[in-house]
Symmetry: C2
Subunit: 556 residues, 2 copies
Amino acid sequence: MSDQKLQIIPLGGLGEFGMNCLAIRYGDDIIVIDAGMMFPDAELMGVDVVIPDFTYLVENREKVRALILTHGHEDHIGGVAFFLRQLNVPVYGTALTLALVERRLEEHDLEEDPKLHEVKPGDEIEAGPFTVECVHVTHSITSSLALGIRTPLGLIVHTGDFKIDQTPMDDIPFDLHKFAEYGREGVLLLLSDSTNVDRAGFTESERAVRPRLEDLYRRAQGRLVISCFSSSVHRLQHILDLAKESGRKVAFLGRSMLSVSEISHNLGLLHIPDNILLRPQDIMQVPAEKVCVAISGTQGEPMSAMARVAVDNHKHLSLRPRDMVVLSARIIPGNEKPIYRMINHVARRGAEVVYGSMNPPVHVSGHASVEELKLILALVKPQYFMPVHGEYRQLVKHAKLASDVVGAHIDESFVIESGETLVIDKRGAKKGEPVTVGRVCIDSGSVDEVVEDMVIRDRRHLSEDGFVLPIIAINKHTGKSETLPEIVSRGFKSLEDASDLMKEARQVVARTLENSSAEERTDWGVMQEKIRTDLRRFINKQTSRRPLIMPVILEV
Amino acid sequence: MSDQKLQIIPLGGLGEFGMNCLAIRYGDDIIVIDAGMMFPDAELMGVDVVIPDFTYLVENREKVRALILTHGHEDHIGGVAFFLRQLNVPVYGTALTLALVERRLEEHDLEEDPKLHEVKPGDEIEAGPFTVECVHVTHSITSSLALGIRTPLGLIVHTGDFKIDQTPMDDIPFDLHKFAEYGREGVLLLLSDSTNVDRAGFTESERAVRPRLEDLYRRAQGRLVISCFSSSVHRLQHILDLAKESGRKVAFLGRSMLSVSEISHNLGLLHIPDNILLRPQDIMQVPAEKVCVAISGTQGEPMSAMARVAVDNHKHLSLRPRDMVVLSARIIPGNEKPIYRMINHVARRGAEVVYGSMNPPVHVSGHASVEELKLILALVKPQYFMPVHGEYRQLVKHAKLASDVVGAHIDESFVIESGETLVIDKRGAKKGEPVTVGRVCIDSGSVDEVVEDMVIRDRRHLSEDGFVLPIIAINKHTGKSETLPEIVSRGFKSLEDASDLMKEARQVVARTLENSSAEERTDWGVMQEKIRTDLRRFINKQTSRRPLIMPVILEV
């Protein structure tokens, strides 16, 4: 037994942004930490969601003992449904994390009931030779955990996603003492969040947002529309508290905003003052200066509530010149263009937009900056260090930081990317054999649509259902398509069978264009999404097949 | 004559980022200020450059008297060659601006010789009823002008792109006195740069960059590789000066870096210390700690010198672990992902990368922040104000700023987008009739390749040459394409004619994949560009046609 080796096997999230998933193996036992998703690059057209390739785990299915979730963000839980379809092992997480998982599971049709086990900070999870202690950490979503993982070879500390908020909204402090205790006890390996290793200093407390929001509540003359991540429960609390103080009602808009606010309210994590809620359909019935709207869609997602409000195409909210729109979230790199496009649309409505090109004025990060990362390194002073949760450049910087701070303590830091492994045995730690990893692309319904029948589309099976490329030439000036859209397809149906279908499909696309406003037609992101949604519905209905649909919009 | 109206007609750059072009018309006389290009969105696949639709000017060709260029940035001069092909009117600009225009003109085959006229600050350009005075302003490129345009109805002041650098590198101050004089005289209309209206305070002087760069010269142990815009002549001066002080030689890498440094040196704008230059082919022959490289490709452009160095695919420079790479430029919104991808590649080489996710540590902006914009408004105190050079959200903010600062002086501010017009006559100013505008997409060679035969490709003519879509499935894990690439084409050749050609084309794509490194194959941007370049060459050679080529890369 003492000859056994410990393997750290990142299946996603290291050397890339998103879809965090890490396996820890000792002999014939494996535990998995998180099973997240990532949003695809624009280059990966026709794909909504990307999840890790779980092949390594499926091939070792009889060894997998548990899936442990650190917190409820999509890049940590967004792949759980797909994971459970292949591996129905016990799942551990805090109440909020599990509630958010269950919300997603409802959209899926799992054959077996999932085995969800709620844990609290201080609880221990037994899984094969591992004992995993749950440790409270502060982060932008509540109920986040770090993990103290006891293995036959020593203690592994996994920070999860964290910042050290010394004045957290719920007054439950980051458990510094536990990290200190681990450090005294002796830690074999530290795995620590690298997201903000580029940022100097300390990340501000969520409480720092309040006075800035307060100022906007004072200034807003019409409706106050605040867009934030629906999972930012603390941010929603600010919005509700300030609405109460300023005599505004609050409406939640957007599917995720509605469900997450309800979930966190039911769990006692979000306190909703009496008589403050406004139904979405009543927003336009109440005097503008009495209305606050919390709305999802901070990243300019084409079908999100905020994006639809921006182009004046939302049934419950139409912006007016004295209204104020606040983006209370960071811009995720890669989303700049759609976000600025959305802001331009809002400005055309005549509403004031409060946003930050570089430092969003009403937002603080949920991830630790350099000084916090140093503090964790100094407290834990591990024998080995392996940065997690970052692109390659961030992992390298974090490893460098560790050698600066606790170089004397650390035997070695390892910059390991997804698919590479770290092996530790009695003789020490070194890089091990690579394992199979990859990205599995999922072509679901659009973000705010009920996902009726989500399918995993492995692109290797492209030849089965083929693909359909509608090609639309839009005149930039008129916003109109001057000829009937072209449609190119391949591997989908034999050409004779398909020609009538393709003729009709061209009409479907033409109708989608006609039924869009001039403003929508100038927004490629919105049009691609609308065309894809309508065409998918049509083709699926006519043929029961699901080809890959990639609208190509050319401006002429 | 006094009944004539003055029309301000933006053909590009207002309500969008890039391709600045503005016409001013009085009766039967038109002058045009700038003819720039924009870099296309990722959605606009297969397009390298976008220029304004000059239809309005072509339809009024006998009225166009002059093209006046404010400065030599591509978003102001990148469309000049296309402009002159249609309208060979006299072109005015400073020596540097014209030299940069001539460099581009060499790539084109103009039927008539261009009429280029060099101007200096203080010079007046006579064009029909207009007298245009050239005013020195400071900006990130030297030799930038604002324009004082005398018209029969009054004085128009156009700031060009500017910041107010009180300690400019060349000691030639921003001509504040001229702006003050105009203000005293009385200004009918001010057109002012809105780029940085989101930034509080004053933009730092270019001199602020020096101590930060100096620190890097001290720290760098191996080669110091600095990437900046080749047109940032002052930044190049810093690089040369500090290299001299620290005993390093300087090599310029990248086509634009080589030609712009030569041009600015020849004009006496860049001072190159004796015996400091190193030929690119000698970089690896000199001890690393004696080498500094100034390299183009700050925005992660797939075929740029910096991008090729990042994936270790440049014939003259191979990075080693002790080398330091510095990105001395801002991240243009939309380029985040390719830039971070490039940084990750550099980190994999083991080199240290100095960059800023939000505030690049060794860069200052070339555009005026809020306090500078206020200063210009206060000095000029125009009767009418029209913000230029910005997206809609920025124009709106700038108009708001004007009403805060000089609201008492201003009759009205106009937020006008490209294609809209402002009309001023004796009765006052109002929005006029729209004119034809649009974007013309140009499919040229790749950025660093000699552009042999650039063609204007109006997408309305797509049916003439058709399009070719190579579809490549790359395995994320192995970086390999597992099947022969698919090719879809339409409107290009009849299917029978093309089938042999397409078979060969599939082989061409397969070879491009084989000849790329594993690291390149995981970088979609690089692969799309390489496939497009090779396939274009093949198809052009075989058929003399130029279909639109859009590689679609699927990860499996």
